[in-house]
Amino acid sequence: MSSTASADPSRRPVVRLEGVTKSFANGTLALDRLTLEVRPGEFLSLLGPSGCGKSTALRIIAGLGQPTAGRVDWPATPHDAGGAPERSIGFVFQEPTLMPWATVFNNVWLPLRLKGRSKASVRDAVMEALERVGLTAFADAYPRELSGGMKMRVSLARALVTRPKLLLMDEPFAALDEITRFKLNNDILQLQAELGWTVVFVTHSVFESVYLSSRIVVMAARPGRVFEEIEVPVPRPRDEAFRTSPDYVALCRQASDALTRAMQAAGREVA
């Protein structure tokens, strides 16, 4: 598999974590020799109990914090003169993380602004991003004027305005109610189909991970590691019908069992 993958550049993994270990100054071993490949075009969910290092893994992929040991490779990404990969990443945090003093437009403009692009030159790009999340009418509103779900959409628009190849999401909808969450799940799937994203999605909801993913990586805690992988071979686009299908139920049970075993495994090691 790996030999054919490297032969065809378009099939190379987007990012590969090899034996990534992360320990914090307080002695917590957040990740222990984590090995993980993100394949192009896939929707990968990291599913695991609280504290198993999902966020840590995602942050390391994003380049926020260095691994203590191990390597992060970007086989399909050109590297600059200094040898650093020219990654194209969008990151959506658990909270909307908007600048409260800036309008919706200016919040979405931010990633481009930091690259030195003027407001006039990116107006179309920003408005297009807002249109994709259905918020064009709110371009001049301030974050405080928006509902929780709308703020999350702005956050999404900000992540997609740079047209990233890889989108990293850290429990983006955990704080939202179920209706909004389902709606945004569908939006994400649709956007992924339209824009050809590769997505790494952190969640601790079994149902969400099965609904969205093409592959689920179940992680165990203490120390954080890959426990099991589950393929979700259900074609896309998926819709509400999938949520009630027997396939869905079966996959949810499989993922849920894996999660339970992962939590028991962690418990044994602590004991």
Binding site: L64, I89, L114, D177, I179, T180
Partner: protein, 284 residues
Amino acid sequence: MALPETVAPASDRAARAPAEPGPWRDRLLRVLVPLAILVLVVLVWDWYVRAYAIRPFILPGPFLVAETLVKDWGTLSGALFVTIRITFTALFLALVGGTLLAILLVQSKIVELALFPYAVVLQVTPIVAIAPLILIYVPDTQAAVLLCAFIVTFFPILSNTTQGLKSVDHNLLNLFELYGASRWQTLLLLKIPAAQPYFFAGLKIGGGLALIAAVVAEFAAGSAGAGSGLAFRILESQYRLNIPRLFAGLILLSATGVVIFWMTSLASHLALRRWHESALTRET
């Protein structure tokens, strides 16, 4: 929280409520109520002074004070001008100095370690105690008074702004790092806007303190025999038992304080009204 957050479609914007109803009544009340209290106090004061035939050098009536204010306006306005000039110059210098130093402090841990303790020492030492020294070292009285006012005003602005520059949402800092923001961009687009509420809180405190410090320093200087600000005129009136003029001076001082408070509050409101919780009237 039990109700679903509606993800409003774009067309919902038009349905948002117009400006809150009846702001005028609210605003009128805000002016009328304190005004009524003022009139009441003046009337009681006047009645008391007349009814008990209090002599003017014990407690002058409100109308005598007003009369003195008009009659002595030449002397008093000159003194008022001096005090205002010192207060605002001190405030301005403290604003510029405090903000710049705060920015410097958060740029480098070393600079902060080196300087911040001394800023604290300067702050906690009572200014009345340093004033005599400053008056000796700085030959020009006005400059000495200005220096005292500056020292007192400087600290709240420095410490508030420093605090603000440091209280940036951690996720936003990560976001800036992720998108490769330079130090300069992070300062300009993230830290400075985030520090605004703290800065304005410091400004409000500093504005009040600048006036107080200017008066205290002038008291100290006045006993040294020089000065022409309002504080000096008040002292002088006391020596001469010219109590109506003392009252007139006091009234001018509090009026100045009120104007400063009003100006700093307005500046804060104008800067924060669009986004910060402190400046919002929440519609629920």
